[in-house]
Symmetry: none
Subunit: 216 residues, 4 copies
Amino acid sequence: MKQRAIQQSDKDQRRQDLLDAALALWQADPNRLRIEAVAKAAGVAKGTVYLYFRSKEEILLAIHERHVAAFFAALRAGGEQGTITFETMMDLVFAHMVRVPAFLPLASLCHGLMESGVEPEIALGLKHRIGERLGEAGHLLQSRLGLDSPENGVAFLMHGYGLILGLWQILHPSPLRDMAKNDPAIQNIDRDFETELRQALRALWVGEFGPTKGAP
Amino acid sequence: MKQRAIQQSDKDQRRQDLLDAALALWQADPNRLRIEAVAKAAGVAKGTVYLYFRSKEEILLAIHERHVAAFFAALRAGGEQGTITFETMMDLVFAHMVRVPAFLPLASLCHGLMESGVEPEIALGLKHRIGERLGEAGHLLQSRLGLDSPENGVAFLMHGYGLILGLWQILHPSPLRDMAKNDPAIQNIDRDFETELRQALRALWVGEFGPTKGAP
Amino acid sequence: MKQRAIQQSDKDQRRQDLLDAALALWQADPNRLRIEAVAKAAGVAKGTVYLYFRSKEEILLAIHERHVAAFFAALRAGGEQGTITFETMMDLVFAHMVRVPAFLPLASLCHGLMESGVEPEIALGLKHRIGERLGEAGHLLQSRLGLDSPENGVAFLMHGYGLILGLWQILHPSPLRDMAKNDPAIQNIDRDFETELRQALRALWVGEFGPTKGAP
Amino acid sequence: MKQRAIQQSDKDQRRQDLLDAALALWQADPNRLRIEAVAKAAGVAKGTVYLYFRSKEEILLAIHERHVAAFFAALRAGGEQGTITFETMMDLVFAHMVRVPAFLPLASLCHGLMESGVEPEIALGLKHRIGERLGEAGHLLQSRLGLDSPENGVAFLMHGYGLILGLWQILHPSPLRDMAKNDPAIQNIDRDFETELRQALRALWVGEFGPTKGAP
DNA sequence: TATGAATGAGCATTCATTCAT
DNA sequence: AATGAATGAATGCTCATTCAT
């Protein structure tokens, strides 16, 4: 039997260990995630997983939340450094979203899970916490990016995130695309995700908030 | 036993009937779609479904393809009428995508299915046919919208579609959002999907292709 | 794949085969009955069991119903032979209830299952069919046993069955009783089930319907 | 942490509290009895339950034993008042068995649990203690009811108890019976439990021990 | 072509019980 | 004695798919 987590800090650590294990397994094969495997990888018994999470879906949501929290933390840190520009935002997005391997595939999944797959209270709890962070970030962007209002800050992030998420679904690298190398009709529409995203995201921001904001 | 479909036109009709039945059932409850129910609703036996589709997923993909084809048909029809502007594109997008009830939820699902859920050949076939249509549409937009190249036409559509799809996932109406009416943190980020989409989409297009294209 | 049961008679046969298999396994170890084992013993796949029964509990109820039907059939056959007496009833009860190995243990279980364990409609269906048979039997006993009314015939059977069932639960042979051979306090109350039942049942019938009915 | 029970009397009290809690929860929903809920209702932690009972089943058996003990205590008290008749026995049976809400349902369950569900030693211990009480009661009935032997007293009780228990299983009030109000075949056999029991029990006693015993 | 009986893979979750503290 | 974190056994059922008729 694994050392008991009596202290809250020990419990938190065990929770993180479970998330780490689940993330690694999910990345390896998203359709093959098994609770038993998560438990074993974290060095506990199956039932123990359910002391920390109410369901498999809740685990995935928790990983997503950790991803999102890390992004917002990076954003806040960026804000504390001084002014934010479209370019620094772009760097942030790429470093803490686009290039975090599981971020976007998991995000895609989680938006579906929240509708059906977890108890509404769980989904609402997650939305609440993300909402808080997003609200704060909106204020930050107003001041650091020179937007007209916190609402514009929120719009900046939401519209951008929507574009990232949707474009990822259409253009993310995948074995399927490799198989289509010889199909001209597919080549026609096969673009590099990061290149397209960078171009479209910049266009969206410029189009919505003006070219001046990005370059003081 | 239902009348046998000998003629190709009869087969096509039966195929459409099956898609109609599946679409209605999927809309009613996406997680409850059962092949047997589809068969019954279309007036055939379970096994017959598999004479027309190789799997459940293939059915969903076929419905999606029908949605997409209808959009491209409308776009082509729009082009035949004369010039296209950002505004007419916006109308097209809303009429044949955003407001077709199952279009976006099904599209969200299908982008996942293509990666795993159907045989690669099926997915590639779909991508091929969509690629062809997208290529044609790119040419159409070059001439009718005044873009610099067919590639820009493709980019116009893909970037726009990415934004639509991603924003829908974040902001689409849902019971969950209704439940959150009293949570200020969630209200903070709860925007009207269509309003936001219209604003962001226009910004994206303007930012990427210039304000002049939309208004000759 | 096992020969398909297309005809209704084939389906009925398969249903009986499944019940036979389940009964044998249940008798061998009541707490160890597994659907998969039933399927294997009947030579079909697991899923096939569910084409014939909606749940494990429904199988047990169906076996019980078969037991009960056999008893009523024997009773009817007895009635067709001529007069029925307490003694012939006693013989019937012993031959088709008490000494049918699984009858009483399964009956004990099923009365509990009907309350919770199966869908009410299933339980009501069973009760309905047994009610019909019991009603007919009441009429039979009125004429053949010389009771005052069909209702008395029903009471005769129900009160008797209650006594049989309850006494079986207290006194049926079991390993536990063998273990108690050296405990005088238990010996005190350890009686032979069949002896006690015969005595009590006769007393009940005589007490309720008079000594004359049994001996014309 | 709850006050430790050092004194034997404190331990006994805690044991009773646990039984009270378990009984209340079992009555509310027999299939939903959870050890954790029992512990909480009794104001102790889960593990503490296992300091007083070796298993969940043992708790149910202990409640049943308390029921039985109360019945025998009432019987003894009745004997101390003077002569016992069939009518006073009937009153006793109704007051301390039939109308004690959980007595018969729990008894039904416990006769099954004793065969498998608890350690044989536990079951034998219970049987032993009940056997002792039953032996005493047999003597009591010999003298107070005027039976020929203590064995007849035991038979009087056992046969009666069997009838009560079995008839209860067939005829006890239940939601299922309420649902069957409109089914004539079921109405046919749907009798009032208490009426039938009173009639059958009296018949059994009279048939077995003569009409004179009950009415001196 | 159409049917529908047969197949069998797939697996999260509960909760009684234990035992380190 | 009391606690409550950890354990892990235990398994029925659905439903997409196949294929004999």
